[in-house]
């Protein structure tokens, strides 16, 4: 039975869906990377993803326009980012707890809106797969990497862009300074509050897009609680990736591959209970955290609100 897993078709299937399913992890975790590098832990990613997934799906369903759907997810995510920044930066709330509140709000609110507007599960035709000329014709590799939808490609393009912005630009330097030593950054005239608001809004937008990537590109449905813990894993991936975009990419791929494997285990009806299969990514997350934290030190000011002169 296990040997069924190792036919070429299945392996290519697993790799292709693994590559594709890394998309929501990438958006959410890259956005969260910027936030955490500036010293703010947004634990509410999961809730913002759900709101983004609903906003994107509903707008697409009504207007029949995927781009408006994406825009709606971006706006909702951005607004949630403002709220998160206000709570965590201006009001200096305990970030581990406020994030749970944001999560519960997003979970309840997206479900409430869904029940009031749609009530039943519907589908949209999401972003179509784009076959990259020539590359998509390569056997096996073409099928895995070059027959995906636009949002998948953009997610991967965001990795080098994030790396560049964080490490090679003044903005990136400011973000890192605010996360490592806010007092010093402040004394040099960098607005700690301004930078943190910016990273939180960006993180919110990315979480919104992460949700939309599920509802209008990968799965093309909206269901209650459809993110199923993905947003929380994305936060953990930032730790696992050592707060670096490339590390986040590696982590996202590992996790989505495990997830794809887990889905195929269910499809092939291997004798592993599905509940136990679903459990595996979480067990893996804990193990990954144990290994990752030994290597890299988190940003010094992470979860610590900044008090001038305090």
């Amino acid at each position: 039975m296990i040997s069924e897993l190792f036919t070429t078709t299945v392996l290519v299937g697993i790799l292709a869906s693994g590559f594709r399913l890394a998309t929501p992890y990438l958006y959410a975790a890259l956005g969260e990377t910027f936030g955490q590098r500036s010293g703010v832990l947004n634990l509410g990613v999961e809730g913002i993803m759900l709101l983004g997934a609903f906003a994107g799906f509903y707008t697409t369903l009504i207007t029949d326009n995927l781009w408006l759907g994406l825009l709606a997810a971006i706006i909702v995510g951005g607004l949630m980012g403002v709220a998160v920044a206000f709570i965590n930066v201006t009001l200096k709330a305990e970030q581990g707890i406020s994030g749970i509140g944001v999560f519960l709000f997003g979970l309840g609110m997206s479900e409430l809106l869904f029940q009031k507007t749609l009530g039943t599960v519907e589908t949209v035709s999401g972003f179509p797969d784009i076959y990259i000329p020539f590359l998509s014709d390569i056997p096996i590799l073409g099928e895995i990497f070059f027959q995906q939808s636009l949002l998948v490609y953009i997610a991967y393009i965001m990795v080098p862009i994030s790396w560049f912005v964080l490490n090679k630009t003044t903005l990136g330097l400011k973000i890192r300074a605010v996360g490592e030593n806010p007092e010093a950054a402040d004394s040099l005239g960098v607005s700690v509050t301004g930078v943190r608001y910016a990273t939180q809004i960006f993180g919110g937008v990315m979480s919104g897009v992460a949700g939309a990537s599920l509802s209008i590109a990968l799965l093309n449905v909206f269901q209650q609680g459809m993110t199923a813990g993905l947003g929380f894993i994305a936060v953990a991936l930032v730790y696992f990736g050592g707060w670096r975009p490339l590390g986040v990419l590696v982590g996202s791929l590992i996790f989505s591959m495990v997830n794809a494997l887990q889905l195929w285990v269910q499809v092939l009806e291997l004798p592993i209970p599905s509940d136990i299969a679903v459990m595996m990514p979480y067990v893996l997350t804990i193990l990954a955290l144990v290994i990752a934290v030994q290597r890299v030190r988190p940003p010094s000011a992470l979860t610590k609100p900044y008090e001038r002169g305090g």
């Binding site: 634990l43 509140g101 999560f103 979970l107 309840g108 409430l112 955290l289």
Partner: protein
Amino acid sequence: MQSFFSEHPRVWRIFDILLPFLATLAALGVGAVMLMIFDANPIVAYGAMLDGAFGSTNALADTLVKATPLLLVALGICIAFRGGVINIGGEGQLILGALASTVVGLLNPDMPGWQLIPLALLAGFIAGGFWGAIPGLLKAYFNVSEILSTIMMNAIAVQGMNYLLREPLIDPVQLEAASRIPQTARLSAAFDLPRLVPTRLHLGTGLAIIAAILVFIFLWRTVVGYRIRAVGLSPDASRYAGVSVPKHIVLSMLLSGALCGLAGAIQIYGLHHRMFTDGSATGFTGSAGFNGIVVALFGQLHPLGAIPASFLFGALLVGANKLQRVMQVPSSFIVALNGLVVVFVVSADYWRRRLARRREAEMVGEMTAQTEAEVEVVS
């Protein structure tokens, strides 16, 4: 303003205690706007809420029943918080406690109740403690953020619960039925915690209050409790004083989880009498593992403060249930409202800290003035 507060130190305390209430009211205000968007009259809705929570003997009893797990979780959160760790894993610890105690009851159907109930509650206590100790160990010895690990432990507990209730522990009756509802058989009626008939109020509420007193004694009247608080206040100072910081981190997470596990066991033996799942965590826990955190904050992270706080929060939840039934609002409204309350209460702490700082500054100012006066006298 300054002189007013320094002349009336009690006003400070009242303000500290009132603040979470004001925050909750503000959250309910936002909830009212949400209701209006959905064409429900918020005044009627919140009227139904009050009626549902306090309107009758049954309503009051339901409020107390709802408050019971919240109080136990909040006590666990108090211990963790005082020890400097944030336990977001109450949901999973509660599920583990409920599962373990249910298994004990299912395996020993013929044991007399007075023997089995303590045994089952102990099993819940231990299972929850085990589930809390793991993130504690990871934090203490591997430096893994307990915020992240407890969230993962929650998810693992939910999947484990779903598996156990769908396969090995499923009610034999359900196994025959086409629906196959994932739940265990009803535990023997001899194991039901004594009730205050004709309401749903059960002995568990009393046990939770006793637990609150014990936790208070533990934290403020024993050496180990003192050490846990010392580690929470200043790990560095504790280390210099020869206190093992990792050991006390593990211990506070273990006790925190154990109290959450006890909450799960009491939910089974006092209220549900069987374990069930709807696939998510909230189906069984009703988010008590998260709400307990808010209750603990309400009660100023004091075990005795958690008693009235849990009562009020229980009223909020029972009232919200009634509101949902009367106004025909989807139950997700309560989840969203719940999230708003968490956010508002945590954020409101800002004003408490701000005033506390001003108060401190004032005291320092007065002392300096006094010293200066004394210096003048001497010279």
